[in-house]
Amino acid sequence: MGLLNRLSAWLLSIFGKKHVRIGIYGPPNAGKTTLANRIAQDWGGGTVGEVSEVPHETRKVQKKGNVVIKNDKASLVIDIVDTPGIATKIDFHEFMEYGMDEEEAKRRAKEATEGVIEAIKWLDNIDGVILLMDSTKNPFTQVNITILGNLEARGLPVIIAANKIDLDGSTPATLKSAFPQHEVIPISALTGANIDLLYEAMVRKFGKKK
């Protein structure tokens, strides 16, 4: 893939190191694992994690390490870090609606809470963030605003990916207007629509860091 070769050369020349760690963050059910799997498949083969409609399916940070991009001259290793969904409220009743018994639902709620803490801790080890939002949902949430504010304060390069543009009711334009100071790329991680635009944005944005 020509684009990947260019990406590889770019990142190498800018970062000056062969290991770039990119974290996928966002609220639960935004499609983080689907995107991580898509990136892993496009770049290296294999998958990162299981995808599910039940919120907080990913409750531990999952890393697809050593995804190797090669061209004639050099190779670049990328770690894709898929993180648990970041939420402000976690209630076991929600899981019971998915057919779990109370005990299992409570255990899942506890793990999901631990997942939020783990995801945030991982920010210290990340070179760039893809903040994934669901473009069919209201973007004006505490989660989105608080994460963005903190990423700005940390000076971490961030790209907002407005996911699920394949669904009815998707309004990526709202996300663009809501966060005008950030690059917003409308994508569908599921169908792969616009995913090349995201890769190009990653080259531009994460390339600026150093």
Binding site: T47, E50, V51, S52, E53, V54, E57, I86, A87, T88, K89, I90, D91, F92, H93, E97, Y98, G99, E102, A105, K106, A109, K110, T113, V116, I117, I120, K121, L123, D124, D134, T136, K137, N138, P139, F140, T141, Q142, V143, N144, I145, T146, I147, G149, N150, G169, T171, T174, S177, A178, L190
Partner: protein, 132 residues
Amino acid sequence: MPHQCLKCGEIYEDGSKYVLEGCPKCGGKFFLYTRNPLPEKARKKLLEKIESNELFEVEGKKLDEIIDEIRKRMQEAAEEASKQKEKVESIEVKQMGEYEINLYRLLEDGSIIVQKEGTYFIYLPSLFSRKK
């Protein structure tokens, strides 16, 4: 664990390509990752919930009005978010299995202070190791 199509109830084994492509039987896009398949009634309820996403809708039709509405919503959400700054706890336990997470605290200094019914539990290593 297998995936169940929420629309028709068909079961697909772990890692099936149909989860990405959609159900070949009914075209359904939503799958439940579960050990225990759900009966039709429960599936229907879940599908309705998933499909009735809270959408962003604006009353105004002119561009200016839409932009104003977006600004207003952003402002409200930012004010709501900044209320978290006043709290000392990063996690509140409402009851077992029900948690309220103060993202501002966790992101800002990584402190893990748990509050339950007015009692505070302070995880000291989280304070000593925090970065500024």
